[in-house]
């Protein structure tokens, strides 16, 4: 396949972000629930993806900030585990994910009236991501090009084409698989890439796994 040329090239973007304080914070579970209700996509995105950014060479300690704070600061291990276990890929929008968070926390509060109040220094700060989508102006016409360019780009390329894509495309798909399936009819390879769970891999592992899979079909 290495020399087969695509009719439409793959155009690479990277997605970068800068955190911004919203002024919203929580000292207890009720405030936390209120804050989540008021959160928009930019806030939810920050708290579900910044751990991946911070720990992109090593295994993340928790898959999202919500689970981390509830477990490690509030000390509510049961709720923390429930929040950590939410499968991000099973939602087509951040709004759906938000409703799931609210449902789990409301259930917990109904059954557990007394929860801790933490000090100001341990508060949960609601932060939003200001997102930058940058066109790298790099185009792949073949699988060879694809591997070479992906290798030359930072992990932020995966944020756009692998993480953000499922929300943009409103289904559990990523841009790489879509292009490979439509341009080269390699549905098996496309499915294998699609089946990689980005929330259980470190960023570098994920990038290397995609490159390794594509190389098998070159």
């Amino acid at each position: 396949m290495s020399n087969v040329q695509a009719k439409y090239p793959f155009r690479f973007f990277v997605k970068l972000s800068l955190p911004q304080l919203t002024g919203l914070f929580a000292l207890n579970l009720n405030d936390f629930l209120k804050g989540i209700r008021m959160s928009d996509d930019a806030i939810l995105y920050y708290h579900t993806h910044h751990f991946l950014l911070q720990f992109h060479n090593t295994a993340p300690a928790a898959p999202n900030d919500f689970a981390y704070w509830v477990t490690n600061v509030l000390g509510e291990n049961l709720l923390g585990e429930q929040l950590a276990g939410i499968d991000m890929f099973s939602f087509n929008s951040m709004e759906e994910f938000k409703q799931k968070l609210i449902e789990i926390i409301e259930n917990f509060i109904t059954k557990n009236k007394k929860t801790r109040q933490v000090e100001m220094s341990s508060r949960f700060n609601f932060i939003k991501s200001v997102t930058y989508v940058m066109d790298t102006k790099k185009y792949a016409y073949s699988l060879n090009d694809f591997v070479n360019i992906l290798q030359s780009l930072s992990i932020y390329c995966l944020y756009y084409h692998f993480f953000e894509s499922s929300f943009r495309l409103k289904e559990r798909k990523n841009d790489f698989s879509m292009w490979i399936a439509s341009e080269f009819k390699l549905t098996e390879l496309a499915d294998k890439i699609n089946n990689l769970d980005p929330y259980t891999h470190t960023m570098n592992e994920l990038k290397n796994a995609i490159i390794k899979l594509v190389k098998q079909y070159q």
Partner: protein
């Protein structure tokens, strides 16, 4: 001075290429940084390394200083302490008026030629008044707060707030350091430079030379704290920790830092530390001049365990310095330290002398665990606290000022 390409060996060529690509979106823009001094203090240290790197990625970066004089800087020191919540630092109306007078003098003298004017800390904060000038409509002003203002004196903060809220954006190092403001508050952590004398790789000969100079025995375990002689760094508590550990594990203690001649409290604390050490030959109290970067680097690299037992802390970048050197680090859970250490993953967070001693014993007696924490800490610093990440965040911040308050910016 290092080239941006020298950083590729550490963070990867793809990251350096990406920085250049991001910077290309600032073509033609002049970024004018303004603070109060070229030397001394963390702000000058970071700017002295950041400005050349901005230039390396072809951004027109400039660095200017305000003029003040002794009285002005006495007042700004009081403002600084008052913002930190030091209760006896009360600023009088007359002092606030003098601050405004000097600000007006600087407004008259300075050439504010930048497209983006990046003001650092409270001393030059009043320069925002220039925003009203004819022809300044397109210029963007950002205020970078390098200090923790969460416990600020209300009067002092209200005096500054009238300036802060005129800016287009503000920048804080931690969510815990900020206040409620009407303008956007961006979060950008400070950083260390892996190629600076304080952090670059050293060979064994250089480390041996420093150890020999101070008669430190490299065949025995070493606990170290690097920080100036300041009560808030709790050097006396560190000696208590060492004594608790020494009952079970043979070790030496290094307390390395500076006590400036013009800081009477620093000399006082230094003397208290000497007194508490009581002539113990295994305690090395090193009062080093501020230029001792290679010595600090070597001391951190020869250490078995590093402590940062602060009672109060700003960001506490010495923690990132030791983690960068893959050293198992025990630090107090104060200021910006919990952002640098995830407990039992990239280091250990403690709150008491006894707890710190317990962790130190665990690390000294379990080198494999200690190594694992050190390695994880190194990776965490590599991903989050190196100057290349700081540079990227600043570039994104400058770009953001060219857009209205949009959540998604397409470049």
């Amino acid at each position: 001075m290092n080239s941006i390409n020298d950083y590729a060996e550490i963070v990867g060529k793809e990251t350096v290429d990406e920085l250049q690509e991001i910077a290309s979106h600032l073509e033609g823009k002049v970024i004018q940084n303004i603070n109060s001094t070229a030397v001394g203090g963390g702000v000058a240290e970071i700017l002295s390394r950041m400005i050349p790197l901005l230039k390396e990625v072809n951004v027109k970066a400039e660095w200017d200083f305000i003029k003040g004089g002794e009285r002005f800087f006495e007042i700004t020191k009081k403002i600084h302490n008052s913002l930190h919540g030091v209760s006896d630092a009360v600023i009088t109306k007359e002092e606030f008026n003098y601050f405004d007078k000097i600000t007006n003098d600087n407004l008259a003298d300075m050439n504010l030629n930048g497209d983006i004017i990046f003001i650092h800390d409270p001393q030059p904060i009043g320069l925002i008044a220039a925003k009203k000038r004819a022809g300044f409509k397109e210029k963007k002003f950002i205020w970078r707060c390098h200090i923790d203002i969460s416990s600020a004196n209300t009067n002092t903060f209200n005096f500054l707030k009238k300036y802060i809220e005129l800016y287009d954006a503000s920048v804080f190092s931690s969510p815990l350091f900020s206040k409620k403001l009407k303008i956007p508050q961006m979060l950008i952590s400070p950083s260390i430079d892996p190629l600076s004398d304080k952090n670059k790789e050293l060979d064994k000969k250089q480390i041996d030379e420093v150890a020999n100079r101070f008669n430190i025995d490299l065949d025995r375990k070493i606990i170290t704290q690097v920080s100036r002689f300041d009560r808030l760094k709790d050097p006396l508590g560190v000696i208590d920790v060492y004594r608790l550990v020494k009952k079970y594990t043979d070790c030496q203690l290094i307390l390395a830092g500076g006590a400036a001649d013009d800081d009477p409290e620093g000399m006082e604390v230094y003397k208290e530390v000497l007194e508490k050490a009581d002539g113990d030959k295994d305690i090395f109290i090193l009062n080093l001049p501020p230029t001792s970067n290679i010595e600090i680097n070597a001391i951190q690299r020869m250490s078995t365990v590093i402590l940062q037992k602060s009672i109060k802390e700003g960001f506490g970048l010495t923690v990132s310095e030791s983690l960068w050197k893959k050293k198992p680090t025990i630090a107090s859970a104060v200021g910006g330290i919990p952002l640098q250490i995830t407990h039992k993953y990239s280091g250990l967070l403690s709150r008491t002398i006894e707890g710190t001693a317990l962790y130190a014993k665990q690390l000294l007696q379990n080198p494999e665990y200690a190594d694992k924490l050190g390695l994880n800490g190194h990776e965490h610093v590599k991903n989050n606290f190196l100057i290349t990440r700081h540079l990227r965040d600043y570039l994104l911040l400058f770009i953001k000022t060219q857009y209205n308050n949009e959540n998604i910016i397409y470049l």
